[in-house]
Symmetry: C2
Subunit: 375 residues, 2 copies
């Protein structure tokens, strides 16, 4: 059950509203990542307060722990993790890609040994749909093969990328069939593959569009390719996806990448960067990025970002965050994650507002210029 | 600047109100421990919301990091750590005790190598007072020697304990002199030592009372002695302290220990137990303690404690906390710390309410019986 309305446009960029079974999502949107059923270091109540509309979960990881029996008992992921708003779950394709040589890919699916207990497991489009049905995620992703950019140190050639992309298409059809068979009341998104080859991306887009799914994602980017390669695909593919369906750019990226994506017609983003960087003391600010470990912050009474409206910047100084980092105090990553996520969510809020008044291009220009200034 | 009023009594137990420079504290009170300027895993806003009136900081640790220069720049610990309510700072005596053989104790003070950078440092009563002045803690503790229960595997004898206690008395006078010289506008507490010897405890009490300090603590308990030994001293010493001054039992203890302390006339408590145990998956409940790692919680939909009013129990199940623990997710210790601290603070709230109506003995009896039931 899903509807998507584009309420304003500027160039290729769109301001939209997504209606899902657990609530509405204003787009363009950034979705915090909660792989194991928890956005690392952030309370769900804090996520709600900072305006997160939808978060991610991961089919692969939640299949292994806590496992389908526990999730069934809770009637899905929402109640289990105490998050009443929408959830999107990745299908497991990307995690299988991360397993590398430890996974055996065949037409049927992916065989691998559980990294938790060594059990031999087989993840197929059908299994992925069954788990996502159990999770009751508002948006389920098709099971796909996330095509590698490099294989054994060499950039994957066009034939190999085509074979992978075409298998993902067959898996899309199998995912859709199983999704329908399970009478899943939520939405299924297809995933465009095709590596860095525009022609393959177009072939993937056309074949997926023919399946008439409720939404589409661009996968297989941010997988080790040079930045310009990613930018080329982000500029190429989104606009070719069906006009009236939401478009999701998977696993991307820096704040600037998000602006690129919006300009290219993307509606949804996710990335571990705000939380992972926070845990490494890498903080985002309006005037560039800041390494809290740097000795120059030792006595700095100013907040991370004086222009920021987050709860961390309202109460704590760089010197305090520097101190927490040096002492290895858990509160350090907690406060940093809160700030970085707010930064991403607030950026998207500003993007949405600018789109509503036709001022996105201007906003993005000024914003990029601020960020280049340096902090 | 400090006043203390006893507003109700029941046996030796007292219900009081402590007025400090940064606010009032209702007693009996439990004080969460924020050694390095952070109560581990809990936001200050969360501590405020759950009703913490006063928290601890540690002179020794904050002297090493971030150091006095940073703290001076912030005008003290309150602004540095974003905590506007009262703060009590331990003097460093206990930490010196923890250093064991790496510290050299003399009449002058304690010489040791910084565990952070190896610098040779000397902590004296005067230095401790100077740091606590810089910290601007509402309650400064005298510098003392926390008398060891055992030395090199043998229980310390009466002569050794007396020598240590008497040096702490001389350090109390030096602490008081330096506190006055620095024109510290806050309150200085003395610390009773004397090990497990009632006569030495009484000697310490009498000598400290003669100094007419604003408050007194019982130190040198919970330092490795058998439980009954601690209980004997807790039953003995508090009632012998000046009637109209607040009494603080340092580093104690389990919820049941707190009830023992209140019954013996103690007004203030601190302990790392709620937060440390939380990080180890040891959770307090009305009907006994619970190990969240235990496999029996894997599918348990109930909250940690169905009778608990904390934000963790309002939203999350044992199964979810078990899952977070298994996955090593930071949210696990965050939610557990929030629960355990609430449990301690709420226990003291109930104790205060019972004292107001003369129902403490009855409350404590019923509460202990509930706890013995098992969860």
């Amino acid at each position: 059950m899903l509807s998507f309305d584009v309420v304003a446009r500027e160039g290729l960029a769109r301001r939209g509203r997504l209606k899902l079974n657990h609530g509405s999502v204003e787009t363009p949107v950034f979705m915090p990542v909660g792989t194991y059923g928890s956005v690392k270091g952030v309370m769900p109540s804090t996520l709600e307060a900072m305006g997160a509309h939808i978060i991610l979960g991961n089919t692969f990881h939640l299949w292994l722990r806590p496992g389908p029996d526990v999730l069934k008992r809770f009637g899905g992921l929402h109640r289990f993790e105490g998050w009443p708003r929408p959830i999107l779950t990745d299908s497991g394709g990307f995690q299988v890609w991360s397993l590398g040589a430890n996974a055996k890919v065949s037409e049927q699916g992916v065989a691998f040994a559980s990294p938790v207990n060594g059990d031999k497991l087989l993840l197929t489009p059908e299994v992925s749909m069954q788990i996502q049905r159990t999770l009751d995620s508002d948006i389920a992703m098709q099971f796909d093969e996330c095509t590698a950019y490099q294989v054994e140190g060499r950039v994957a050639g066009e034939d190999a990328v085509r074979r992978s992309m075409q298998m993902s298409l067959r898996w899309a059809a199998r995912s859709r069939d199983e999704f329908v068979r399970l009478e899943n009341p939520n939405a299924l998104f297809g995933i465009v593959q095709g590596g860095m080859f525009e022609s393959l991306r177009e072939e993937s887009v056309d074949a997926l569009a023919a399946l008439d799914l409720p939404g589409y994602a661009i996968g297989g980017v941010s997988v080790g390719e040079p930045k310009q390669e990613m930018q080329r695909i982000v500029a190429h593919t989104p606009q070719r996806l069906p006009e009236h369906k939401p478009r999701y750019l998977m696993g991307v990226g820096t704040p600037e990448d998000l602006l690129d994506g919006v300009a290219a017609g993307v509606d949804m983003f996710d990335c571990v960067m705000p939380t992972r960087n926070a845990r490494n003391g890498h903080l985002f600010t309006r005037f560039g990025d800041l390494r809290i470990r740097n000795a120059r912050h030792k006595e700095d009474e100013s907040p991370i970002d004086p222009t920021c409206g987050c709860a961390t910047c309202a109460r704590f100084s760089r010197a305090y965050l520097h101190h927490l980092d040096r002492c290895g105090e858990m509160l350090g990553p907690m406060l940093a994650s809160q700030h970085n996520l707010f930064f991403y969510l607030d950026l998207m809020r500003q993007v949405r507002e600018s789109l509503e008044v036709g001022g996105f291009a201007e906003f993005a220009l000024a914003w990029r210029s601020d960020r280049r200034r340096g902090v």
